[in-house]
Symmetry: C2
Subunit: 336 residues, 2 copies
Amino acid sequence: MGISTRLTGAFGLEHPILSAPMAVAAGGWLAAAVSSAGGLGLVGGAYVDRDWIAAELDEAGDTPVGCGFITWALERSPDVLDLVLERRPRAVMLSFGDPRPLGARVRDAGVPLICQVNSRPDALLALEAGADVVVAQGAEAGGHGAHHRSTLTLVPELADLLADRSPDTLLCAAGGIADGRGLAAALMLGADGVLIGSRLWATTEAKVPTGLHDAALAADGDATTLSRALDIARGLPWPDRFSCRVLRNRFSETWDGREAELRDAGHTVGEDWKRAFVAGDPDASNTIVGEAVGLIHGVQPAADVIERIVAEATTLLGAHGTAASALRETDRGVDG
Amino acid sequence: MGISTRLTGAFGLEHPILSAPMAVAAGGWLAAAVSSAGGLGLVGGAYVDRDWIAAELDEAGDTPVGCGFITWALERSPDVLDLVLERRPRAVMLSFGDPRPLGARVRDAGVPLICQVNSRPDALLALEAGADVVVAQGAEAGGHGAHHRSTLTLVPELADLLADRSPDTLLCAAGGIADGRGLAAALMLGADGVLIGSRLWATTEAKVPTGLHDAALAADGDATTLSRALDIARGLPWPDRFSCRVLRNRFSETWDGREAELRDAGHTVGEDWKRAFVAGDPDASNTIVGEAVGLIHGVQPAADVIERIVAEATTLLGAHGTAASALRETDRGVDG
């Protein structure tokens, strides 16, 4: 049983599923588990901690995994990209920033380039960067994003754009996808696959403290909010365009809207947040998940999660797996 | 060719498509055109102008159409509901407010009740009101909404809720759906049908001035913003929870963020806005469309739009139209 798309063909996958390179949570264990289950796992290079990344790539061992970075953070430590490229990752993913300069180095190394985008102008930059895969991230996604466009409208609009400008570039949907319904819907919208965050965050292999997992399992999809407080508290220079989707909690309610005061509070609040995050305190740090949290009711091994998603999507799409290919025939000139 | 779902069965439709009861734009001509094309058209009762509603229902003639209201506005003129119910509409839709008191009168009249909701608590109120159809409206929708949840996550979460609490209640997806890809995706997510706004706003039969249509055709999906200025200028007492998705323009950029000043400016700004809106001035009023505007490239007759949407969705779902029924077998217990 499987769902064949251009993505599975290009990367030799069983399933058209990438795991989001989530900071901290997506270590080598999770990435390798996703790849072993037939998807493509991405280590969360995120804020570019060289030693952490090296250790997590070691943890993945011989299982082919990729690595994702926050573009503006990688620009501050570009040598870490060399370290990663030397290890021949299955792909490098760049998110949140202009992917062209660093993307060129990825492509020069012969490594597939995945660019996450949040808008049509972002997608045009990704094409200039030579992206092999464009990931269209909608506002429902957990963690950082531009939160201006939804997955449901961004994916088909970018499918049309790619069909027109760069038909060989693959497209994945990200944000709000946590089960087979979401995977099937994404394929209907014109995606070649999906990138899944929150649902794979809620797995045995994700590096997530129990307290944060428990907070997510108790939440419904209305429980998230967009926050900047955790970034300001930690002194992370996120561009204004991006905020972070988290479960609304004591920390977000205390500090959101008081950003100037938070800046003045100096490192204390950030240090307290970091300690609470490591300890899994869902009130004094943040549970970083998307709106799809309302579809997540248990923490299971990643392989079980992926198997269930694919089985459900296969049923929905019909047993013959033809939907995605039919899609490619109709995703141009839809209107007009 | 058609897509059979529980919605088409319950209402005797050819296609699982409702038209949004858009203020001003959705008159009797559009509603009747949608119903004649095999969907269910809804007149935009909106702010409850008795004479306008009566004239538009007359315009629809013998074609069966429904009527939609803004709940808090109908509460101020509840006698207009009697006028509408006496005409035996195909359905009454209530949006933006507690549907229980007015919904009881709709049900007592033997008229199907459709409740649009923006969250899980809203859906629970709709069930208490005895809704026959729950419309899950995501943040990508044009015009008013709570803009807190996306269609992609709200629909499956409410599908699970309904399966658990009220399995005979039908579910429609609204927000971001403008082509066959969106319809097919919505059915994958667990909806029994869709409610379409912007795409049917861009039709020959919609009461929309050319200037606003032209502005929409020139826009991409990144071009919208959430605004309160038009409501404040017009003195409309929208609850704080709701804002209006419009094309970002001179009016929104001038006034959003200056709400107190706008209130002080009194009626002048509102009167100017109204004149500009009637004249189709896209800079001095607002073009009220959703993120799906990036998928709309022409103004056509409603029947052509619906035919194309259904044809595309049918191709995507496979020729046999079995996807929706397969869906109903798997939309419970997806996770956990």
